[in-house]
Subunit: 325 residues, 2 copies
Amino acid sequence: MREVSIKDVATKSGYGVGTVSRVLSGDKSVKDSTREKILKTIDELHYVRNVNGARLRTKHSGVIAIMVPIINHPFFAEFVEALEEEANQAGCSLLLITSQMNKEKEGEILLKIKQHEIDGAIFVTHYEHDEKELEGCPLVSIDRHLPGNVPLVTSDNYGSTMKALETFYAHGARRIGFVGTKPTVESEVSQRKKAYDDFIAEKNLPDLSKWEDVSHGQETKLVEAFLKEHPDLDAVFASNIMVAATVYALSIQNGKRFPEDLELISYDGTSQIWSGNPIDCVRQDIRLMAKIAFSTLQDLIEERECQPINIIPTTLILGKTSKAK
Amino acid sequence: MREVSIKDVATKSGYGVGTVSRVLSGDKSVKDSTREKILKTIDELHYVRNVNGARLRTKHSGVIAIMVPIINHPFFAEFVEALEEEANQAGCSLLLITSQMNKEKEGEILLKIKQHEIDGAIFVTHYEHDEKELEGCPLVSIDRHLPGNVPLVTSDNYGSTMKALETFYAHGARRIGFVGTKPTVESEVSQRKKAYDDFIAEKNLPDLSKWEDVSHGQETKLVEAFLKEHPDLDAVFASNIMVAATVYALSIQNGKRFPEDLELISYDGTSQIWSGNPIDCVRQDIRLMAKIAFSTLQDLIEERECQPINIIPTTLILGKTSKAK
DNA sequence: CTGAAAGCGCTTACAG
DNA sequence: CTGAAAGCGCTTACAG
């Protein structure tokens, strides 16, 4: 049995397929009484529009892809969730692609765009293709400068870190540490470390930092080494929440109390590490980042002008593991 | 400028579009020399196949959807990641839909199937539509019986929980607690509680349980109340890792040591709560669950017979927060 | 306000 | 082993 198509609706309602199509797309020019009759027929026939016919014709799929290194990570997960909401509001579907640090998968996005499977994509990942390949592909990057003129959305990494460090300083901390996982590829995230370096240089403080390229899930070793090297810290700034949670857990196991014995602020304080996660943090406005990223991508897809660099402000959430109020 | 289509390849190579299509789909019947020439032309023209033409014709999209309540959660995230890998290996793309406890979004999946946007979907979520609606839609459910004959994939909730409880008992624990978040809708997850109930009845132990419908992120209150009600436990079984992590964190903050003062085993020990997460657990074989779910869905899509109920065995990971070895 | 027709880019029996 | 042709289901100028 053939599925019911726009033709069946046209025949049964007594109008042409063009008019049915106009009703489907909400075209204002259709007479009200016509619209009603057609809608009634659609209902009677349980007609549902086949998107592949439309996509073939219009050359737009209404699908975008999001590419993240991994999904089981608070920041990436929250970003994906926020992006999905943005996309859905605009009537778009979201294709998920996890790069798993696998370069091949990164190229797949470009292929999918050329295949007209997706209209564009957002990258929250390392990417090392050359300008030539990216040409003509609607792409937006998070936290990382891409070659060509791919727009960038990032948070205020430098300024927020600096502000957090100043907070420690203002409350008397002088032995201020910094621990973090260095990104494999240069990205805006490195501005967190740069802020620390500038800060200690300016205040003439000792360099108590550990900043290494460690894969996700291996943070424990990094943090253990860091805490062993610097057993007498007043305060620690952690470059992300996984590292911060490890600092917190290890220190508590060693009988330390926050903030009395040690202060801690983390970049990236997404909500779900464990329920009731108390760590003070620089909170990125992930929803806003997703919103800007999506609207920028839409501009690109519809060939409008767009902002090449978007730096989203953050909020400092304090009161539990640092002495600030 | 028009994009290059299969017609251009046909014209330039001197063959018909049918033959080009056969080369594209790897049809064996094409002569080697022909294939080579066409491949060369494809390369020269930088031709890329438009999937929407193919989808319209074949009525298959090669896309499936995964629907989870939220993505920022270790179990769901790992499952999605595993499923993506399965799908990709089979040449399928994965559409992500987060239900956010919003019933409307659940209906969208069905619509997308009817619209031919996706070939089928996997549900890891509550679902309350009636049998009629699900009819003819290729769907697989995780952890939850759906109306109609939607195949189910789940882990051995009852048996694994029982085994963990027996472990406590074997090491002398008698004040054994159970704490967990009760699913809003009846699901296989409730078998964990049932195992506890049966266990204490059989061993004639006191009921030290708390099992309530609490939303994700609100586990702290539940656990606090539980620990206050039962301050003198020997052992706790937590129905999921978010709850377990909260039990762990709160107990450590109160000076308890694991496993000396308190034993703890969790259902659902995914790796990333914090790096180095030490909690003993019933580990679900998420990869295998994803694999079975995907292959079952494929069977449905291609109208083959499939197993209606699939119970995947688990592994008990012990040695750190329980006294077992 | 509406219809007839062209065409988006592909695949697949069918015939040879 | 290959070609010509039909058709998947839609949208959109164009004409009236």
